[in-house]
């Protein structure tokens, strides 16, 4: 069982968290025409990196969504960053 640091609550067991997405994925602007390829890349293509990864997680008990930096091989967690600016 891993422990992740919620920016609000500190170290908590991984079962309190929910993975949302790999970080850095931007939703295409769907009000203009986009090709299948672009949309499919957004929907399905994951980097699935071996090593340092950056992911978006939610801490289910406080509902904070944040950026988690961790290592997908050693499971070491380096940092969690609040998505909010200036608060």
């Amino acid at each position: 069982m891993q422990q992740f640091p919620c920016p609000f609550c500190g170290e908590r067991d991984e079962r309190e968290f929910h993975f949302l997405a790999e970080a850095g994925k931007e939703r295409p602007n769907t009000t203009v025409s986009i090709d299948d390829e672009t949309w499919a890349r957004y929907l399905y293509k994951q980097r699935n990196e071996k090593g340092e990864v950056q992911e978006i997680w939610m801490h289910l008990t406080c509902r904070e969504v944040f950026l988690l930096k961790r290592h997908s091989v050693t499971m070491a967690v380096s940092e969690s960053v609040s998505l909010r600016q200036g608060c």
Partner: protein
Amino acid sequence: MHMSRTHAGVQVNTDACFNFEFDGKTLQGCEGDTIASALLANGVVVIGRGFKYHRPRGVWGSWTEEPNAIVQVTLNKRTLPNCLATTTLLETGMQVKSVNAFPSAAFDIKGGLNLLRRWLGAGFYYKTFMWPNWHLFEPMIRKMAGLGAVSEQCFDDYVSDQLHETCDVLVVGAGPAGLVAARTAAEAGESVWLVDDHHTLGATHFYHEFIEGVAARSWIATQLTAIIAAGATVYSSTTAFGIYDHQLVGLMQLQGFAQAPRLIRLRASRIILATGAIDRPLLFRNNDLPGIFSQSAALDYLSNYGVSVGKRVGLASVHNADQVHDVFAKHAIEVVALNPQDEALSAIGRKQIQSVNTSTARESVDALVVCGGLTPTIHLWSHQQGGLRWQKNIHAFVPNREQAPAGLFVVGAAAGIYTLEDALSDAVHVAIGRASTPNLAAVSIPMPSAKTQNRDSQWIDVQHDVTVKDVDVAVQENYASVEHVKRYTTLGMAVDQGKTSNMLGLAALADKQKVSIPEVGITTFRPPFVPVPLVTYGGQHTHLHSKPPKRLVLEPTHRALNAALCEYGGWLRPGWYGDGRMDEHVQQEVLMTREQAGILDASALGKIEVMGPDARNFLNFVYYNRLDNLQPGHIRYGFMLTEGGSVYDDGVVWCMDEHRFLVSCSSSHVAGVEQLLESWRQDGNNPNQIYVHNATSQWATITVTGPKALDIVNALPLPIELNMAEFKHMRFLEATYQNHTLRIARVSFSGEISFELSVPTTQALMLWNDLLRIGKPLQAGPLGLEAMSVMRAEKGYIIVGKDTDGETMPHDLGFTGPRANKTAAFVGDRSLHTKTAQSSSRRQWVGFTVPKDQPMIPVGAHLVNGGDKPKSIGVVTSSYFSPTLQQPIALGLLEAGALRLGEQVSVWHMGQQSRAKVVSPCFYDVSGARLHAG
């Protein structure tokens, strides 16, 4: 039989003896005995039979490494089928039975299988599963295999406690190195846990008479006293069975026979493994005979239990043989020294060893003690992928400190340090976090290899009956990689997980392939180190506790009304009211509602408030339907989609005011919808402009539905009177009821005029009672969820998740508007225009009817096209007998269903085919006149 103890062992109290049974015979044991030590003290040598060939087997080890001595034990009417005799403490009145042996271990009628060995060799399971048909062999093999018979008893109190703890330093193993490490860390001020799986701490050390110049036992006692004085937590009977991510250690704490062990999840900043090493067997002919013991076990039985394994004992050892010789001599045990390195030994005896043949002599013995070297216990190290290094002089894989997992350390024999002085000084360094490079070259231990003759009677894995020959065969059949050999021969895959057999297997494989052991590699160790009962992981999370139902505030009231409470989407809700046949009650409740009115507890409906300056645009994005133009006081039905375009939830959205909305989602999706709203809010929107609040549990909702609904609601003590011409379908208003806010929404799931009345939960009982009292003279009464489900089906309304699947898109359900016209972006929008989404053969929402006299169409039945090989073109998702229409109706998804209205379609169910007519999914009040009545 008689008790034969050479002296009182340290662990047993020979003044406190009692009776127990083995295979029906009454024997005597003492307090402190394990089942194995007591059997040996009684001269019982054959304890079970081999798994595959039913060869007689006896005790080999004295602790968890034991591969043979698995017994079935009954105590106080509780039977456990697979107890390890070497670790189970003996108790008064235990009835011990051998397993894999019928009727007893000494006489086994399947012993004849021994002669069939030729056909049951390596790959037996692989070959049998493949050819010609496993099912032909299965009954026979199932009957023969397995270790004991599962009891039909169910122990209701067999539930594990679970504790969550943390510490600075965990030391696993209370041998000399572990004791020194624990003491050093504890005296340095760290919070220390010391655990050992043995029942008595410090009793595992029997090689040395003196430690640091002090008698070993008093040295151990001194260490323990100091450790406890320094504030450490010390547990015996506690097994560290696995190390998981981020230094979480699973500790199983035994609670006595047939009692569920306790699970402690311990998070330790540093974990020091002092888990010792396990004696390796030697490979020689008939090395599986009862009466052959590991060297450490023989010493353990002698020093701790006062039991000698024999009177004239053969000693074939490559490690510490002189020392062992002296110990035996001191106890007047005659020792026959043997040379396992250079001699091809051969054990002789039918049911137990009687002699050992060397190339020159035949030595009569009543036991044979062997040691083929030591294997460091590195399981826990490997659980965290700690690096290993081949240490040539001791022929062992040892932990590589340069590839240590975070927070993990290893000391003592587990680190391959076999001299006491080196082990102790290294343990001190490790305990205070100082670098240490112990000398592993001080000791040399050879590794005798398998002999060339009689390879089919040199046993590697005695628990799974794997011989050197089996490894040869695996290699010949090209299962050459270590992981393949393991699976092909099942070597190391038994309950003991190869604690004694793994290294022998690697050596035999290396030998056969003429490569070195490190070139062969090693298989992966995975938790748990010893078998852990499944209930230990589950703890109290059983039955209702595994998924506690959500409960209505009015549950006691429903119970008083004789409601049948059922689980719907995680909520315990009234299915119908009254005793007797469900279908009669459901039909009656439908007819009551259609003719008068029904009163339904709808409190489980989601009530998530979404507010803030960006709330409107946010919901317009999250919903399929347009919400940007929803006016205050209005309600709109809509879908939430996944980004893949499939329908995730349906519900209604209320516009409370320009910046405030109420999302009334399905009762089963509240948590999911809330999570979805939160994730879109914080990732992609400005979270300071939107606020999401789940108020589901703060409001109770009671739905009044039916032609008399208006009369009933207007009879409540309200400051307003509802007027249907003004209060149209899909509107809501706020009023006060008994000085509290009352929200009235005109929405309907039944097809009748309906009012959802929401009040703070504190007012729920008063409102419910008022409504029932008012309704009673109008023949209106409580309505359960089953009847509501029938009515919604008559109306053709979907239940998401029941009538839809992961591929259903809104236009499959007839909701095409936003897909065609909505200009703003919304979740899932682009997915509605892919080639798949545009396909003309998509499964669409339709209804089915059969003639009145025919049976209902089963839910789950497939709709098939004609032809010799029918192919599914759809599925029936809902089916009821409609009390309103007095005929069976069904709903489902059918390929191009909207174009097939009026056609007959084949229904396939459990091999039977029937016919049904495809119709519009709305069976009742198609024009909506009743719904929109004003």
